[in-house]
């Protein structure tokens, strides 16, 4: 009996020594704020006051009735679909290119990766300048009609601008993961396939891609979650404009909580955004995990 007890205390001791600090940090910065955040959805707090009047489910009811929130969420879903597809397609193509035997492949890798090192806000301002000034003056000199007006002043083109910049920002990062996946496929398997008579593209299609499914799982997961939570780029590039037509869900939530001072409603919408993102990301991971194979 005593021995069992001491082994339990031992185990707890060991657990605390190794995992304690991480668990503590995780609790303090993720779990507790999250639970507290859920509590705030039941209040009509304004974000500043000490009073947090309890209002029950009222916030959830008003979120359901909040039309602009759902349309911004719809826009976000649309954005995620397009961005995830294009980012991953571009990233994979880049990975194939720079892992081939071309001169200066390391230089290209570094070059494609660099945009990811620039913060979203700065990147947004740089591209704002490009869309507003540089492209317009190019359009003016060369008389290209669709460049003569700033992309950012029409709602469809502003959305396209967001996609373009998202690709530019993320594809380098995803490329790196794909390169890791590509180099992880052993040379033996490749050679065996070639000897068996596969063409180069067949090797990629039937051997390499199935063997690096886990890279796809990771990249799609990362791009889905990041694109759902897009905020800094949205803020710096379009500020939700023109006339609010590119306001993504995260930005809408922020405005609700801090500009309209309806923290409770904003928090509720944030929770809903979280749930949707979590469900989609987890489903995606489970589906693609089940398709992963090992050599």
């Amino acid at each position: 009996m005593n021995r069992i007890k001491s082994s339990i205390t031992n185990n707890i001791g060991i657990f605390l020594v190794f995992a304690g600090p991480a668990v503590l940090a995780f609790l303090a910065v993720i779990i507790i704020p999250f639970i507290y955040g859920i509590y705030l959805t039941f209040t009509s707090w304004d974000g500043i006051s000490r009073n947090k009047p309890f209002v029950g489910m009222a916030n959830y009811v008003s979120v359901i009735k909040d039309g602009p929130f759902w349309s911004s969420l719809g826009l976000t879903v649309f954005y995620v679909i397009i961005a995830v597809l294009t980012v991953n397609a571009v990233a994979f193509a880049l990975a194939l290119l720079v892992s081939g035997k071309i001169k200066g492949s390391n230089f290209f890798r570094a070059g494609f990766f660099t945009p990811n090192l620039i913060g979203g806000i700065i990147l947004g301002y740089i591209w704002q300048f490009i869309f507003k000034n540089i492209l317009v003056s190019i359009g003016d000199t060369l008389n290209i009609a669709f460049l003569q007006k700033s992309w950012l002043s029409s709602s469809a083109l502003a959305f396209a601008a967001l996609i373009v910049v998202t690709i530019w920002q993320y594809s380098g990062y995803m490329m790196l993961i794909y390169i890791a996946g590509l180099t992880g496929v052993s040379e033996d398997v490749r050679e065996a396939a070639l000897i068996d008579g596969c063409t180069g593209s067949q090797v990629t299609r039937y051997i390499i891609i199935p063997l690096m499914r886990s890279s796809f799982t990771i990249c799609i997961f990362l791009s889905i979650t990041r694109c759902f939570m897009v905020y800094d780029l949205n803020l710096a590039l379009t500020e939700g404009g023109p006339f609010g037509s590119t306001t993504m869900a995260a930005m809408y939530v922020y405005q609700k909580a801090f500009s309209s001072k309806q923290y409770g409603v904003g928090q509720t919408e944030a929770i809903i955004l979280f749930l949707i993102t979590a469900v989609i990301a987890v489903t995606q991971t489970m589906i693609s995990k089940s398709k992963e194979v090992e050599a």
Partner: protein, 473 residues
């Protein structure tokens, strides 16, 4: 075994919860520093007998410097949130200067462009670590001053503009009006006279027809599009459109009543004289807008440069725009601010001679997280700004602000500020309410951008604007 781990984790969670709970009860000790856990009443008694700051400023309101004549705040450390980031270096220098006089330390900090004052203040209060001096936008300060703000009614400056421009709740004054800003049409007189080849007096423009005639003359003389219009939501909705509420009859009471009526849905804007007159002028400005080909691509800095260099003659903005204009302007260029002139003056005869403006930054002193001594030091700092020559110098010369306190008589350092100072001295400012809905500029801004881009008629705009207000209920 697993259960044990789980339960000990739960216990840990509770322990952390309890710890953070304790944090609440001795709030402000962190920032109080030296003073430790002195309880409120003791601190109160201490401040009043030791420093006598309150009594002093009451006895001699105009005393040269309360700070120089003996107030001693040695060891007191206070903080100030500055939400006018462009004057951060000047305020830091001022804090040091004041600190050297009183022995206190004042740490001024500011926020980046990606944060808003309301969010910053909210998170500071959530952390129980609010700054002693809280500078915020009027509507923010108005929202929480009753809960967190110290009563400033007895301060030396209260009677000299404090109660006029500061935030009052009932009879209690809660904030120090940090500066006055006003908006209107900025004109470049030098450029106009050069183009027209004759002397031009802004007073000659008395209504919208005069303005249209002037635009036409400028266009014929070679300045085809003499106006710069911003596309930013805060400019068109937050500054231009709000003039419509504030000029209903020019009194704060009517403005507030008008907003209530809008919320209640009893106003038909298409029938409203001021709405129509204001938008008629806006349409005129749109017609002569130098960004006309793509109004939503207007660039703020380009507008500033165009006005400074005389590419355009008018720019709708406010005196704060000097910060950008001054980067481009040549010595000797004469600038000023004039009203957004309108044709129909029914209901308010002053619209063509007054500007809309008021105190745009309010400084509140926190009483929740800062003890009595810190509050007294903060009051002393404001007193120093207003009553000492060095402090006045900071506000007017160093920061190029238009002070709201009438005892500060130094002349403003730039032409736009001088313009506003003159309007203020003549009493020609329409007050602005401090209770605009927080999302007004952003939400209505988006609607007005459609109108600016020509994608919406005046009627559609009026309808959407009314819907915004009734949707607030």
């Amino acid at each position: 075994m697993k259960k044990k781990v789980l339960s000990s984790l739960l216990a840990l969670t509770l322990a952390i919860g309890a710890l953070s709970g304790c944090g609440n009860s001795n709030a402000g000790n962190d920032s109080a520093g030296s003073d430790g856990a002195a309880n409120e009443s003791a601190a109160q008694a201490g401040t009043e007998s030791e420093t006598g700051e309150e009594g002093q400023s009451a006895e001699e309101p105009a005393s040269e410097t309360a700070a120089e004549t003996g107030a001693d705040f040695s060891g007191v450390s206070i903080t100030m949130l500055n939400t006018k980031s462009e004057i951060q270096p000047q305020l830091e220098a001022a804090a040091e200067e004041w600190g050297a006089l009183t022995g206190a330390t004042l740490e001024v900090y500011t926020i980046g462009g990606d944060s808003s004052p309301a969010k910053e203040i909210g998170s500071r209060y959530a952390a129980n670590n609010a700054p002693t001096l809280v500078m915020g936008d009027p509507q923010d300060v108005s929202d929480f001053c009753e809960e967190y703000g110290a009563d400033l009614s007895g301060e030396s400056w209260a009677a000299n503009g404090g109660t006029k421009y500061g935030i009052m709740k009932g009879d209690v004054l809660y904030s120090f009006p940090f500066c006055i800003e006003a908006r209107g049409l900025i004109y470049n007189r030098t450029a106009i006279e050069e183009i027209l080849g004759e002397a031009w007096d802004p007073a000659s423009v008395t209504n919208m027809d005069d303005l249209a005639a002037l635009f036409e003359r400028l266009a014929q003389a070679g300045m085809e599009l003499p106006v710069a219009l911003n596309m930013e939501d805060w400019s068109i909705a937050g500054h231009y459109l709000t003039q419509m509420y504030e000029e209903q009859d020019g009194t704060l009471a009517t403005t507030e009543k008008f907003m209530e009526d809008l919320k209640a849905g009893t106003v038909d804007l298409t029938e409203n004289v001021r709405f129509n007159a204001m938008l008629e002028t806006f349409e005129l400005l749109m017609e002569y807008n130098s960004n006309k080909s793509d109004p939503l691509a207007a660039d703020y800095d380009m507008n500033a440069a165009d006005l400074a260099e005389g590419e355009v003659a008018f720019w709708f903005n406010g005196n704060w725009a000097w910060a950008e204009i001054s980067d481009y302007i040549e010595d000797g260029t004469e600038l000023g601010l004039m009203s957004v002139v309108q044709n129909d003056t029914t209901g308010n005869a002053n619209v063509n001679t007054y500007l809309c403006g008021g105190a745009t930054k309010q400084v509140m002193i926190d009483k929740e997280c800062n003890d009595e001594q810190q509050q007294a030091a903060a009051k002393n700092f404001l007193d120093w700004l207003v009553n000492s020559e060095a402090g006045q110098n900071v506000l007017v010369t160093e920061c190029s602000l238009v002070p709201a306190i009438s005892t500060i008589t130094q002349e403003a350092t730039n032409p736009l500020a001088r313009s506003v100072q003159q309007y203020a001295a003549e009493g020609k400012l329409f007050d602005q309410p401090s209770n605009y809905p927080g999302d007004h500029w952003a939400t209505v801004g988006a609607i007005m951008q459609k109108y600016l881009a020509g994608e919406e008629t005046r009627e559609e705009f009026a309808k959407e604007l009314q819907d915004y207000w009734t949707g607030l209920n």
